[in-house]
Amino acid sequence: MTRSAATLTREKALAAALLARAPAWQEADQRARRFAHGRTEDVAEAARLADDYRLLAHDLARARALMPASRTREYLESAYARVHATLQHGAWDGASALRRLFVVQTPAAVRWLFPHLAWAVLIFVLSACAGFALVHRYPDLIALFASPDTIASVESGKLWTRGLLNVVPSSILSIQLFTNNIVVSLFAYCLGFLFGLGTLYILGLNGLMLGAIFAFVGEHRLAGELFRFIVPHGCVELSVMCLSGAAGAAIGEALIRPDAGGRLESFRAAALRTGPVLISCALLLVGAGLIEGFISPDPRFSLPVRLVIGVGYWCLMVAFLSGRLFAWRARRAAPAAR
């Protein structure tokens, strides 16, 4: 059906009137940018932004009807979306977002993960026991878990960690260690994506290795020395490994047993809920890596000192993950504020 000349003329007049409002749209867009970046807190400006929202909604509706495939519509869609996001979501404050992540989201996620954590610890301990039993019963199986150099070193009565500082400086060793540990933890988490099987594999393998190595060094009367080496950093490192595994298991469970929202929605909710834990885990592993590079291989540190460092850092980890560390700081700040 062809449109009448009157209709065409009317549409052209409406389009011209609409296009003439481009400066107002540009002003609205710029105002929204200023608010989104927190560059203004002017109340009158904020009220104007609310008016802009209505103006853009009105003009966008017209543009959608009058000129659906035009650049005017494209521009209005973008300006309207920006004003909408600014009004609905407020200004972005990276520092407060990070504070919220560590003070609120992480402790909540850790509490939610308790049942998964219990299972992850159980799997890790059972795997370690299995590794210990296997190598204790069949010593040759150590070749599956340790390198030939490590085996040769232990068989000659010397732990491979002895003299480690003479080979690699602590700084380099720390970086290598925490990088490796962070990658393993992140993989333990991300592989929960494979319905939890990847997480199970990483937890099981690490447990088996730990148990097998202890059984092997025990055969050569070096278990005490290995314990001395592991205790300063291992308390946190192994806890973080289990925590990452628990987060990965939660993701796996969300995929295996989705809630009413569906599998993808369930996965998304679990990942968003557990993600903050991983960030905290990575930070804790940096600390563990530094201890492992500077303190663990250094023979000048006695066993009691090592125990104090290991347990102390573990307590700090618990305080950090439970939010008590920040609650204590908030309590200290409160009287000062009063």
Partner: protein
């Protein structure tokens, strides 16, 4: 194979929904390549600068053995720049990066707003999976197969990548407003755009586009005889004269 990417539609209190077109694998890969070059150049620049300063001469040779200061001043910052670029920049630029900005895309939540710190960090943690086995194989495959062009990190963080900024200059729309008359709104936009970009186009393209526009709006009455560029421009000006 998935359908072409649809737009993200968000309800609003005005009754007019917010519509954001989704960025596909092409735009996202392009932004990633720009970002990759930025972080590579930054890391390389740091390496060269600090190595020259460390060696005290124009030599890029690493020092023999493991030197702590070399590691702390050169290697560690280079690794940090390369591996922490995306999480840090996305946090600082509220879900954008220089690469995304230059392509005109940004990360948003399903509510159309900027994602929180947790979502941005989760999104980056899952790069480990998306990057497997090489060159973002998993991520790219997922983007091609999903309707909303999502990689694993987006699925986990509940984020989408959308075209957030229009490339249209509002001055062009004002100019177009003056030209609606003989032309309809679409023609006015095209004429204003063509006249604005006249000098930046190659001569053949200017004439071809002007001829097409004249032919479309004037039909048989259009003067399409051969002429120089200036004449074609003045014909176009006459057509689009306010």
């Amino acid at each position: 194979m998935s359908e072409p990417p649809a737009g993200l539609s968000v309800d609003s209190v005005t009754g007019i929904d917010v519509s954001l077109p989704l960025a596909g694998p092409g735009a996202r890969s392009f932004a990633f390549i720009i970002d990759w070059h930025i972080r590579f150049v930054l890391a390389l620049a740091w390496y060269v600068l600090m190595t020259v300063l460390y060696n005290g001469s124009f030599s890029l040779e690493p020092p023999p053995g493991h030197e702590r200061a070399w590691f702390a001043l050169v290697v560690l910052p280079v690794l940090a720049i390369y591996f922490l670029y995306h999480p840090v920049v996305e946090l600082a630029m509220r879900g954008s990066t220089p690469g995304k900005r230059s392509v005109g895309i940004s990360i948003v939540t399903r509510a159309g707003g900027p994602p929180g710190a947790g979502a941005l960090l989760v999104r980056n943690v899952f790069r480990l999976i998306d990057a497997l086995p090489v060159a973002y194989g998993v991520g790219l495959t997922l983007m091609v197969l999903t309707r909303e062009s999502l990689r694993c990190g987006d699925m986990a963080a509940g984020t989408l990548v959308v075209y957030g900024r229009s490339a249209t200059d509002p001055a062009l729309l004002q100019d177009a407003a003056q030209r609606v008359g003989k032309l309809d709104s679409a023609g006015a936009e095209i004429a204003a755009d063509l006249l604005q970009r006249w000098t930046s186009l190659v001569p053949e393209a200017r004439i071809r586009l002007a001829r097409a526009l004249l032919e479309r709006y004037l039909g048989a009455t259009a003067d399409l005889s051969d002429a120089d560029e200036l004449e074609w421009r003045s014909r176009l000006e006459r057509l689009a004269r306010p």
